[in-house]
Symmetry: C2
Subunit: 230 residues, 2 copies
DNA sequence: CGTCCATTTGAGGTGGATCAACCCTAGTGG
DNA sequence: CCACTAGGGTTGATCCACCTCAAATGGACG
């Protein structure tokens, strides 16, 4: 309700593009009690939102679509650290630069605020400070779980964990509508896309899930997925 | 259980070097200034400091020795998320419970404060709040780097990364004095202890490092380790 | 100086990667 | 509304980095 319209923010020259920045009626849920300028922006499929080691000027929230955050090795190997789905806040670095690259998986709408204004608000309002900390702590918890998955789980356990995570986070109808490709899933789970595909086929053969096109999956037996997740 | 020596010791600059996870963000330093009760305690080798899912009552700082934080799967597979060395703060959960188990690797002295008092201090002092956030953000950054290692790096790259991390963090003399076993290293790197041992032997054969007993390693060629780390 | 466990080394096995077709389907344009 | 097609997805065959199982070695500590 305190939301104000700012001019289209200056973005990195490579990622900047004309787009109508519409006024949002409701600010980020975590900071909704303070009057910060919140702006909207759209990114097309595969468009970069920010790059690793770029100054962290903005903090984002997904409104629709999906985002992947990843790190690359020099030879192109990629590790996706997290998928950001509608409602998720991302790009909140406590430091000066982003530690991962963020890209739109599909056409995506985001809202964002300047990191600086959030930090100023946190200096004045302990509740805001607590919120920022809680978001980072939530990301850390996810990363800790994911380290266990990447370091110690089998391919089947990883895929089961992925399906359960998406089921929990996308929980729309009975059908999971996955926005990401098999390659994205593989790079999230530390596998190859072939292994992801084979494992999903195997789960289908076991009657654990049904397909309605490769990216629409219905979980038929969550209990056995939980058992598989070790 | 907590028969302790109450004290408000001045942080020793030698033993409390800034941890990579919390550069210039030491709540214990702040606490010394605002006069919170800080207590010391000693744990023996392999003793548990806190368990996964236990209420997070205290926040700790290593004074001497070393600590491992890990998660277990039901069949005993273990993933160590981090090693905590002198100066490091650990056990700082923003939530109500610990997400990992912490154990002393060797005989270890720690200081601790009640999480509650830190959080109360954070409500009054934005600097403390910033410190707590910065520590969690540092842990997150470490976890993000470690996900890349666990998901995408080869055995040689992992071992090289481990050696460089330890070199940076416990660089005392020219010799690394590793407090942890090959099994601990393996569970940190998502490998088996045999693979860690073989890889170290190989690096020794290549003249990259020298041994003075299995746990005392001198890096002879940091440049080639950096190259190996991809 | 002997014992015990951590570590090293060896030999063989395997889960997932790689290389290679082929298939499907969502999106496009007619 | 249908036909076409490119790119995502599936499946098959083979390979290999790392794991597993096994045994020898060594170094820390009494």
């Amino acid at each position: 309700m305190f939301t104000t319209t700012t001019s289209t923010p200056v973005l990195d020259a490579r990622t900047a593009r004309p787009s109508p920045a519409s006024v949002s009626a409701d600010p980020f849920q975590t900071i909704d009690h303070i009057g910060l300028a919140v702006t909207e922006f759209r990114y097309r499929r595969d468009e970069e939102i920010y790059g690793e080691d770029e100054p962290a000027e903005y903090v984002y929230q997904v409104r629709s679509g999906a985002v992947r955050s990843y790190k690359l090795l020099s030879d192109g190997r990629r590790q996706i650290g997290a998928f950001h789905l509608p409602g998720d806040v991302f790009g909140l670095a406590s430091g000066e630069v982003h530690r991962l690259t963020a890209e739109a998986i599909a056409d995506t709408r985001v809202r964002f605020v300047r990191r600086e204004s959030l930090e100023h608000a946190a200096e004045r309002d302990a509740g805001v400070a607590r919120s920022l900390w809680a978001i980072t702590a939530g990301d850390l918890r996810h990363a800790e779980d994911h380290m266990l998955l990447l370091g110690r789980k089998t391919a089947t356990e990883r895929v089961a964990a992925f399906l359960l995570e998406m089921d929990r986070r996308l929980a729309s109808a009975k059908m999971l509508a996955l926005p990401m490709s098999r390659r994205d899933i593989a790079d999230y789970l530390g596998l190859t896309l072939e292994t992801v595909s084979r494992t999903l086929s195997q789960l289908h053969a076991q009657g654990v899930l049904d397909f309605a096109g490769a990216r629409h999956i219905a979980l038929r037996n969550r209990h056995s997925l939980h058992r598989m997740n070790a």
